[in-house]
Symmetry: C2
Subunit: 451 residues, 2 copies
């Protein structure tokens, strides 16, 4: 282990962050300039990873008050790029999900909203562990470019009303640097650190309205219901502190979202929903999120009016057309969407069947997600390669009746450890004699904009 | 920032320490094997500094229960050397102080106890920041060798009844590795981490009895009285959990200990006390610590009997002779002790005088310690060079009466920033119209051996 810096500048930074660790541990408030200095010193290499790791771990234990949280968020954005959405013109919305297993909602909701003539700019990430990522799913589509510079995004949004691009580190350099460290130091699961990370990027995007989808349940980033609620409330308030009008929903992640888990499999499900198939769990959630977005653009819209608009956008084919137009606008090959059989697929499909009759009580989203990882539909380390054709199709949901020999799920695979994946899938299903109440799709809606 | 390891072994270690961080933060107990694995992985380079820093910061926030604390202490010692004090023969004691400004008590107490025919083996460290270190003080003496291997120590103890050597990293490799990291990550001030660090080395020494001197007050490692008491109780219990018979005292560090602060200056004060000068603050503390050590060797000894032995050891010159015999046994030049003018000195002596009459209410030990640091009697970084001749002589103590122009302290210096040191010394003294009650020298004695 080497010591932190030798120059005067670095020894000042070293003393500052150590005092900050001691103060935070002792329960003293950190000043805004103090928090800014810690992040800035780390981003510019004046404090090493081990000092920042101690700081993040201490914050994860002790929390941040409202003022400290806003200061950290501001520090994450400092020195970064900001989008100039005024170049798009009109109202532009942003959407974020805390992610989960089979969460392809953005890919459905964004074209629906765009088809209702409300522009959306969305930055997405990659998956890690049991949860998938929107960028990975979209990379199933040949030719699609997701690494657009801001100047390339604006004309796409002007032309097709939407864009989805991969997260740029340039927007919130402080978040980018600290996230990489949190990811390997057990400091991801912290409400203030999650909130600052997410909202810093939203501040840099600077949309006219933001809709947050916070998941709760065993497959969520924050499984506990009360904690997930607190995360949602914290983010709504924090966004408001930056003048970002924000609505949100607490949605269910106690079982996988819809049937498809895996990259091209999920793109196929997205296309099915955009063509009108009301996939259970997916459609209801999309309708609520689209409603919140449409009301963000037009606060006078009633729930019924918003839902009618979204339903019409799907029924008329406008949302589907919008999705394909967007894919083309970013260089994607729309023929593979018109003929989904051209998307990456798998050579093997293995059914997992029920060994007893009864009602499905549990479909463990983490086990399903990890089964997908073991056939390379997901990854355990950032650098692991993906198989875009593999994954899981979940045939039964909580509350469904099954008989012996009926299919619970299918494992789609090319390589990886199909044996382990099969075991995980088998363990994921719990079948009971009593019929359980299925969990709600939407647990709570935060529908008044916090400011 | 690089990721933690790429091999399978390292990714297992990485996952283990991250789970441990998450579990500890969530309030779940860590298992003994889990704690052992974390320390072992770090010592063997399977987890990087930033992961260990997050772990230490989390432990500093959440604490450790009695079982976890014993496991951490055990893990610190694992794979290290252990002393074989049976090669010395008879009862061998150990002593430890949490340190402070002007704390030269070990150098007086150890020869007193040795002169009473009770052997003592003591490992000491260097100073950092406002507090000095015994090794630095002893290095004022030309020729004295402190880096003795265990095999070299045993004959010294057999011959002169005592040894003081510099701390060996080989005794508690886990403590050594984590201490270096704590030192730069704001995680030093944690009761369980301090207790495990200190007691692990005592376990490796394996003496027949241990006396702990825990300081309390503004100049102490743990200034707060209640926290320092808890540290003392925690260490006594932890030592007992390893079968180490332990007594201790909570002693005052709300003002500097004695007059001398600085390396050769303190050696001169040690010689004066060993020759019978009852330096205020120093002599009373030495008497109590010697009593606890003598009673550790002979539990039947009453306080009065123990004190009489210690007083006689000094009055007879036996303790002084023992100190000089020990210095010679480890290669030191005893002539410089017989003629202290030969010890390193300073070219300049600057008196700091009272600018008003009154009673001394405060002598801030941190300011006095930092004044000494600025004339190079101490150091702010491990690699900074020391001036063994410089330092501070504190002329007045809390409760003393002073008149305008009387000397409060003297700054002894050769180079460094004498201006800054003078300002700090001036600020260190607070003179009041009312006569304050001087603080007790000994706050509490833990005189029954905890086992």
């Amino acid at each position: 282990m080497s010591h932190a810096g030798t120059g005067t500048e670095n020894s000042g930074a070293s003393a500052r962050i150590q005092s900050s660790v001691v103060d935070k541990r002792a329960g003293r408030s950190l000043s805004g300039p103090g928090i800014h200095a810690v992040v800035d010193d780390f981003v510019h290499g004046r404090v090493p990873g081990y000092q920042m790791a101690a700081w993040l771990a201490t914050v994860a234990c002790r929390g941040l008050d409202r003022t400290e949280l806003a200061a950290l968020t501001e520090a994450y954005v400092a020195g970064g790029e900001r989008l100039r959405l005024e170049r798009v013109g009109g109202v532009v919305l942003d959407k974020h999900s805390t992610g989960g297993v089979g969460d392809k909602l953005s890919l459905i909701v964004v074209p629906i909203v765009a088809a209702c003539d409300v522009a959306v700019v969305k930055m997405s990430g990659r998956g890690l562990g049991h949860a998938g990522g929107t960028v990975d799913k979209l990379e199933s589509i040949p030719g699609l470019r997701l690494g657009l510079a801001p100047e390339e995004m604006y004309p796409v949004v002007r032309r097709v009303g939407m864009t989805i691009v991969s997260q740029s580190a340039a927007l919130a350099p402080g978040d980018d640097a600290t996230y990489a460290l949190r990811d390997v130091t057990g400091t991801v699961e912290s409400i203030p650190l999650i909130a600052a990370s997410i909202i810093s990027k939203k501040v840099a995007v600077g949309a006219d309205g933001l809709v947050l989808d916070v998941k709760t349940g065993t497959g969520a980033l924050i499984p506990d219901h009360a904690m997930a609620t607190r995360l949602a409330e914290t983010m709504l308030q924090l966004a408001g502190d930056f003048g970002l009008r924000c609505r949100g929903a607490l949605t269910d992640m106690s079982q996988p979202l819809g049937h498809a888990v895996g990259n091209a499999l999920e793109i196929k499900e997205v296309l099915a929903v955009l063509r009108g198939e009301q996939v259970p769990g997916v459609w209801e959630a999309c309708l609520v999120l689209a409603r919140l977005m449409l009301q963000s653009a037009d606060p006078a819209l009633t729930d019924a009016e918003a839902d009618a608009k979204a339903e019409k956008a799907v029924a008329s084919g406008a949302a589907y057309d919008r999705f394909l137009a967007w894919i083309s606008a970013q260089g994607g090959d729309r023929r593979v969407l018109e003929q989904p059989a051209l998307l990456p697929g798998s050579r093997h499909v293995l059914p997992i069947t029920a060994d007893r009759p009864g009602w499905v009580r549990t479909v463990d989203p983490r086990k399903v997600g990890m089964a997908a990882v073991h056939v390379k539909a997901g990854r355990l380390s950032h650098s692991a390669p993906l198989d875009h054709g593999s994954g899981v199709v979940v045939a039964r949901r909580v509350g469904d009746r099954v008989e012996v020999g009926e299919t619970l799920a299918e494992l789609h695979y090319n390589d990886g450890d199909a044996g382990l994946a099969t075991r995980l899938l088998t363990q994921a299903f719990d079948i009971d004699d009593e019929r359980p109440a299925p969990p709600p799709v939407i647990h709570r809606v935060f529908d008044s904009p916090v400011r």
